[in-house]
Symmetry: C2
Subunit: 701 residues, 2 copies
């Protein structure tokens, strides 16, 4: 469709190169530029364009495709690029403060280019910087300008070789010495070495180190954060007593130097305790504003929320890139056809549509959710900064924690599975490194693990929901209401549980309101089931620890995931059905919303039957037919929907996913560009001269 | 448990080192050595020991852990190792002929060490060598000894840049010139370049090239195989007219040089047409023993079956290694516990058991199936060699083709998902390259794609089943019976469809006979549904191509998978319930069989409800409870079950998976062994001197 845009916006969105994708583009039911503008807005488009153009125009960011780039060289490159980004100052602090969402845009744009680069920056500025800001006090503000101009470079050190998920049990100690007014940071043995710390391997000069704080009389006050200088910024050599190293190769993200550190009685000034949640006086007396150690601990690690929300965005970006590559490939790769003479694009096959289009819909739904969650967190953070002590602020904190704890698992797993499907859907060509699906998978993979293992995080969400139900049932408290309204529907759970699936025709099933209703039933069902299961476990004599562990697999885990899916579905449903959606975009957005909702619901079909919401053969078939119908309705729009989300070719960096759709030309050219492609191998004599003699060696046992 | 073995067998199975895994080993309900001996037999154990010891004792096979091994160096190493294996002649031809299964053992042992090595050997000896043997005639036998002593090195070239799955449409041509009695091999353009050919990139001297055969009058006779010399064995330089190159880095298997080739009017002697299925006379007349081109084409590509069966074994091996690593990790990694003081191994958590133990059971079931399928194929191949023209041989061919076509998808996907689960179940440490889960995932990934894309292969299986049902319904033919009896149950499909799930108690659910019955119902249900769906599509005016495409997603695809799962479950059920199972092993094998069967069935729970086999809440819960009960019964045996399947530490090559269970010592040591771990980076001046100035650069648009 022709562009109805004018002036500024149109100049921001250049026409795409003509080529084999034209056929699908011509069939699109909407104008891709109009949708971009609706989703992003002109300002964000301008910011993106600035970032992408800057990278493309600077040779330091040239795509090297060095097959054999060494770890050391990759780390150097990603560090040099970090510096260059600072020199460009692409997102000045004042703009970020005025438009917090721009920070997410900025991060995701850099991540589309390379997550190693983006994460190194984030670890220094956000994870390290925000930890100092949120956990420290006025005396620590001196560190902030040094972080921003890279006088120092920071990292965040919680996990140890033998402790990750159970952060409370970490064993690094910080003993206070009142004579010198210093803390002595110490690793009792190598199992307590800090481990997996990003930026620590080769570059960080400072670390926020979590350690068990001991006062002189020998009492332990639990985990506290300290700023510890680990390298000399003038030499990058380790500070005395610090043994610090690089963990070596990982499955992905190899531009980041994850590291380990052991501390041998390293002395730091008393002032370098980040003292927001606990302080030691000159004389060695421990003081804390918290009554409860648990609460203090929660507040200390609360700073991880920002990281988890960032991961929701990172995962969505990874899936966005993978889906863009796989769909452009599918629209240009022809294979088989109704006759031997005629081949059709693989996107014409229902199977290929079903494999890929739900992930395309997921990208749109998760992208919207990721933005909205980020803004929720900004709201919370602003309350924290303003020292908001209201009940609403506390409730908001709990609700956001519950949302974030399931959002990271949902987004990272959806991306993990989606990228794998995209890899396979591109066949052999998806297995060629240059096409980038491997890097996307490898770089996305840790999203399932870091900042909280997915399966363990989900327990936070289910606990939140269970506590709401418990107060409603046991104490008959005030109605269930939360600041973001994500749980308000639970108020009506007895009525919801009485509902049954009803959908008179397939057409009435093609809107996200149908799966939305099913999800409300499902969450209520799983919540009540989980509640009963936990009680049953306790009644049969198990303690809380056992009862909780035995209620995860088929109860609390699916509960947390279903609740989050419902929330994503609801927010995207509301977004796509609001009156401000331009009429030409309503149909396409509605279909994306319906497809994501039905598809993700369809994973729970067994439960819907088991609990009685579905009955009879027709219910299941109706959902299946609705999914396939939406796939076939969306397939002609798929290329245009990719044009909306895909970054420029330079950033997407995949020969089979370029906007011109010249699949084979681009792939062939890329393959020929690699080094020594046509050359005889250096070791050719090993074939031609040094021939093996069968059985000439005897095996040794 | 103490070993009841004596003499020879006991000497083959050394005791495992004591260490932290001892606690679980002591709790095992069976003797691991007894189970190894039952599963493998003494001869196979001796062969494995010879292979593994030979590798471990030869420095050429030393595990380098060079983080930055270059593509070229890795290819050189894997080539040198190929030669060394030939020098050891670990499996002499006469032994292989006497014990065909030993060939599978040999391949899998090398693959456990490194699939790049094993596959390079296989591609030359089996894919290339067997193609010449099966597709050629006496005049081609001259090539075989040259293959075995590496005078020449071969590859198998079917796919092209623009054609893979639709092999029939490949475009390389072979025109016969009666004047010189040569074929002229030609690639019309780069889209017809041979692509993805293993061994072709740097080393192969000869290729079996599939090309469209044209006789002088201009008629095309379809795809035929030719032996084409592509490099000079004295120089490893390409032959005149052959443009040949290396495809560069892939997601995994980088010790193999996948390559491409374009032929510019390359002339080869007439005799190098592999003429088993089609021949051209001196004068240029085409002759074939087949009446039907389709049949001839099938016979030509039938040689791929061996590759597909090999992939079933490869996938199982990969899952075996991953599960071994993850379970030993889970038995030694402690995290959280009932109190702050006491931490328990993560294997004690129901969630971790549920994530990993079904995959352990899958390894046992698939391993047995993989052997049995290999022997079926040997049976078929022997018939081919003996020129067996019987109806049974033809039926066996069809049945095995149907089994193989779904086995490769089932095994490769199970491994893909299982390895990912293992990676995640090991948390961050699973993401460290040295622990090998990344390589396993990356090396397993192409199993989903090569030798036939999984989703497309599945259509072969469903078509076979549908044709059986069609003859039964439409022509009321003789009873459905097949040589391997995998489809005999279909005879009773109307009665089976009348059955309903019944399981009076959880205990009666703990045997694989329960899921076996459910699977029979499920396959019958999906078969009838698929049949009806296809007919419905045709009735509504769609042609065969469309009807088939529109019946895959929710019909033919799950049908093929469920049928294969049933077959795997049935074979393992029969194997574990046979009278020859030693009594001390019956319980453990029975549990493995039940767990695999119930767990894989549980993926179809929605269908079981939808079709009415299940009804009410209890059915689903019964299956869930049975799975969790089996997990808890098996968790104390998990380490011993891993001891049965895991190769020696040198081969497993994962610090977190070593048999001594010294998780942290091994990991710490491994990390410190990598290069330059504690060194300042070479580019330290980039931090210490060349400081960035915020905003010093202007972005260019």
């Amino acid at each position: 469709m022709a562009s109805p845009l004018e002036g500024g916006a149109d100049a921001l969105l250049l026409d795409l190169p003509r080529g084999p994708l034209q056929a699908y583009r011509a069939r699109a039911s909407f104008c891709w530029k109009e949708l971009v503008l609706f989703l992003e807005g002109e300002d964000v488009l301008r910011l993106k364009k600035t970032i992408f153009s800057t990278l493309e125009n600077d040779p330091l960011f040239a795509r090297s495709h060095e097959e054999d780039i060494s770890l050391d060289r990759y780390r150097e490159l990603s560090f040099l690029r970090c510096k260059r980004i600072i020199e460009y100052n692409l997102l000045p602090l004042e703009d970020m403060v005025a438009n917090p969402l721009w920070f997410q845009v900025f991060t995701n744009c850099l991540g589309m280019y390379d997550w190693s680069l983006a994460i190194r920056l984030l670890l220094n500025m956000v994870t390290f910087g925000l930890a100092i800001y949120n956990l420290g006090s006025e005396r620590h503000l001196k560190y902030l300008p040094k972080i921003f101009n890279m006088e120092i470079f920071g990292c965040f050190a919680v996990t140890e070789l033998s402790h990750g998920s159970n952060a409370k049990a970490i064993r690094t100690t910080a003993h206070y010495d009142p004579i010198t007014q210093e803390f002595i940071i110490h690793s009792p043995d190598f199992e307590a070495a800090k481990f997996w710390v990003g930026n620590m391997g080769k570059t960080a000069t400072h670390a926020v180190v979590f350690a068990q704080l001991y006062t002189p009389e020998g009492q332990c006050h639990g985990l506290h954060p300290f700023v510890v200088q680990i390298r000399n910024p003038k030499t990058l050599l380790p500070m005395p007593g610090v043994m610090i190293g690089d963990m070596g190769k990982k499955l992905g993200l190899n531009g980041i130097d994850n590291g380990f550190a052991m501390f041998h009685k390293v002395r730091i000034p008393r002032q370098d305790l980040l003292n927001r949640n606990g302080e030691v006086t000159l004389e060695g007396t421990y003081v804390t504003p918290f009554k409860d150690d648990r609460q203090r601990f929660g507040a200390s690690l609360g700073t991880l929320s920002m990281g988890r929300v960032a991961i929701v965005g990172m995962s969505t970006v990874n899936l966005k890139l993978a889906v863009s590559i796989a769909l452009r490939f599918s629209a240009t790769r022809c294979q088989f056809g109704p006759s031997d003479e005629e081949e059709v694009p693989v996107l014409e096959y229902q199977m290929q549509q079903w494999r890929l289009l739900p992930y395309l819909a997921a990208v749109y739904a998760l992208d919207h959710f990721s933005k909205s969650l980020f803004l929720d967190l900004v709201d919370l953070q602003q309350g924290l900064m303003g020292k908001d002590q209201s009940a609403r602020q506390a409730e908001l904190g709990r609700e956001i924690h519950a949302l974030v704890s399931a959002s990271k698992p949902l987004a990272s797993w959806t991306a993990q599975k989606g990228i794998q499907e995209c890899r396979e859907a591109c066949g052999g060509h998806g297995y060629l490194a240059v096409n980038r699906l491997g890097d996307l998978r490898n770089d996305n993979d840790p999203n399932c693990t870091y900042e909280g293992d997915n399966n363990i995080l989900l327990q936070q969400t289910s606990s939140y929901l269970l506590s709401l139900l418990a107060s409603r049932i046991e104490r008959k408290r005030h109605p269930t209401k939360s600041p973001l309204k994500t749980v308000d529907f639970l108020e009506a759970y007895p009525e919801i549980l009485g509902q049954r699936f009803s959908c008179p025709s397939i057409n009435s099933c093609l809107d996200s309101s149908v799966p939305l209703a099913a999800y409300e039933w499902l969450v209520c069902y799983l919540l009540l089931e989980s509640y009963q299961k936990l009680n049953e476990e306790k009644r049969s004599g198990r303690n809380d620890f056992e009862a909780r562990n035995n209620s995860q697999v088929y109860y609390c885990r699916p509960l947390a995931l279903a609740f989050l899916e419902l929330t994503v579905v609801r927010r995207f449903h509301e977004y796509t059905h609001q009156p401000s959606v331009p009429p030409p975009l309503r149909a396409i957005l509605g279909r994306l919303s319906a497809l994501y909702a039905l598809w993700t619901l369809s994973q729970h079909m067994a439960l819907l039957y088991q609990g009685g919401y579905f009955s009879g053969e027709e219910a299941g078939k109706m959902i299946q037919n609705a999914i396939l119908t939406l796939c076939s309705q969306l397939k002609d729009d798929a290329v245009a929907l990719v044009d909306v989300i895909a970054p420029p070719d330079f950033v997407l960096d995949s020969p089979i996913g370029r906007a011109d759709g010249e699949l084979y030309k681009n792939l062939w050219t890329a393959v020929l560009q690699e080094s020594e492609v046509l050359k005889r191998p250096s070791w050719w004599l090993e074939f031609t001269v040094n021939k093996p003699r069968v059985g000439s060696l005897k095996s040794k046992l």
